[in-house]
Symmetry: C2
Subunit: 348 residues, 2 copies
């Protein structure tokens, strides 16, 4: 933890988040869900998706881009598939609702496939995939948004960084959890390098005028993961979410006819029990995880890590509290003051 | 076309493939399917998945690793999901059967999700995704296999290159078709660089003893796409195919208890008509494709390409015939002779 960081205990931070969201018009339950998704990311060391987002959320709540009191509803019930109309509900509320819906469909049809339209910032999509894994299902979660990543071969943003998460129960840590973007580097890491004055780890971004760069201060948007692979995957995910459910995000933004924050999502669940004994499945995941951990490491004395394992290393934060950079803390306090919410107690 | 290549007309090449496969015990229909999948790849310029595979297939047919007369069957009927027991049937036969099954399930349940076990080399998985797109559905196809790609952070193969294809109908060429592997470079391109004596385009592979290399002649297996992303995605796809349907491929291979060729697969279809008007959907894909094509190109005078577009450029092969390198041709002729099959006529 840097000397500049403020440390806040997890429960106190959660309570603070809940109070902030209730003050902006969330129901108590919606506030709890939104707080849980943000603090979950902080607990995993993914600060870019944690409480630092709160000031921006509050701006969106004021402008109406996010609606704290909106209640997601099933717009189409298609059996194994469903469409959720989120009506600008908080992303955490909409995506949790969608994953619960997908799990219910999976119980009846072996797979549940729930698409979400008109949602807002989903946060860490791994949270929703993990919901399924904790309930003995395989979970898949995707969030799509407006263009914020270069399209391969173009000198402009054409697609979105489109995070994808997949979780399965089993293994030494209770689940394997992959949470990745379709970009060469997450936008959060570009911002972090910029804040630290460090270069990017290679030519992984374009400047605002479309020049490839490793200079974090000049980087406007990331390049896609593996060139045409990352941008192609992102483009196809737009087709099978927004385009399919009458809320395209890329084309209207590129045409200039739609501005402002907008997301769609996918929550899918596969009911392991329909295919296999759950205990058998989990035992096989344990064996697979062991064989991966047993591979010879690239560096002498190194360790081979499972998907989700690096983030679990951060769980010391549960004991010691979440470190919040002073600049983030000041913005949070400003937001809280505007809402009449008291600051959380600071840990030792 | 290199001076060393033999050129064969598409229909003649297909007929030749059919005769080869019938001679090894395929039914006429199975032979047609297998021929179609191989020649489809050649037509798209993906020679690594085309007729050059035939000699290897014939070896597998002789050893019993592939069974030309095996008929895939539904092992579990779970409503929206299904499991196909392929019984070592030719991969093209098993995966086509599975995609037809997924499409039938999608007609009833909006989504169909069909897993395939005990299949053999699937070839170009884009073929199966495209089947769905030709029938106004969204298609997803994945093939999993034994470890042939480095796991991130390890100096050994731990996961598979795991090709993933997604196809949607619409756009200027009738569909958008993404067909990508989870590796930094396909194994076929490593082989091609080796054959030409060229270096790899960067450190994208490990040698047999686990040293990172850009030397194609020393490369034993590719590195994963984007480090932990590619190997994580491959690992999770093993979990939601082989591990789920009682035919794990990675762990038994890493433990040394299972050797020889083995694949599993996933064929999924989403019925657009259940969500949206198909004509509306396709019109939106056209608009999206136009806005992507209209992005400013990275290089002056360059062109921004859609997923599947580079491969379509090769369709001149339909008119001029498929160029077959002389070495591949000689191996094909040897195989044909052993089966008593006549060579196809050579074009001009």
């Amino acid at each position: 933890m840097s000397q500049k960081d403020i440390r806040v205990g997890v429960e106190n931070l959660e309570q603070f988040c809940i109070e902030v969201f209730v003050a902006t018009g969330f129901s108590a339950q919606a506030a709890r869900t939104q707080a849980d998704v943000l603090v979950w990311a902080d607990l995993r060391g993914v600060d870019s998706h944690g409480v630092m987002r709160i000031p921006r959320y509050v701006e969106w709540l004021r402008s109406g881009a996010m609606r704290g009191d909106a209640v997601p509803e099933i717009a189409s019930d298609l059996g194994a598939a469903g469409v959720v109309e989120a009506a600008q509900a908080p992303g955490a509320v909409a995506m949790s609702f969608a994953m619960n819906d997908a799990m219910e469909r999976a119980r009846a049809h072996a797979i549940g496939w729930t698409l979400v339209r008109h949602t807002t910032h989903s946060g860490a999509v791994g949270y929703y995939a993990a919901m399924a894994a904790r309930d003995q299902m395989i979970g898949i979660a995707v969030a799509t948004s407006r263009p914020n990543m270069a399209y391969h071969g173009a000198r402009a943003a054409g697609v979105a960084t489109t995070p994808i998460a997949i979780a399965v129960p089993g293994g030494p840590h209770g689940m394997l959890l992959l949470d990745m973007s379709t970009s060469a580097l997450p936008i959060g890491k570009i911002r972090a390098a910029r804040a630290k004055g460090e270069p990017l780890p290679g030519i992984v971004a374009l400047t605002a005028d479309g020049t490839p760069t490793n200079d974090a201060s000049e980087a406007a948007f990331p390049l896609p993961l593996g060139g045409p692979k990352g941008s192609g995957l992102s483009l196809l995910l737009e087709c099978l979410t927004g385009v399919l459910i009458h809320n395209p995000l890329l084309e209207p933004a590129l045409a200039g006819s739609q501005k402002g924050h907008a997301q769609n999502g996918l929550a899918a669940a596969i009911d392991i029990a329909a295919f296999s004994g759950v205990a058998d499945f989990e035992a096989q995941i344990v064996a697979l995880a062991q064989s991966i951990k047993g591979l010879p490491p690239a560096e002498p004395g190194g360790e081979v890590l499972l998907p989700g394992e690096p983030e679990l290393r951060e769980s010391v934060r549960r004991r010691d509290g979440i470190p919040i950079p002073r600049k983030t803390w000041l913005r949070l306090m400003e937001t809280a003051q505007g809402l009449g919410v008291s600051p959380p107690p600071i840990a030792e």
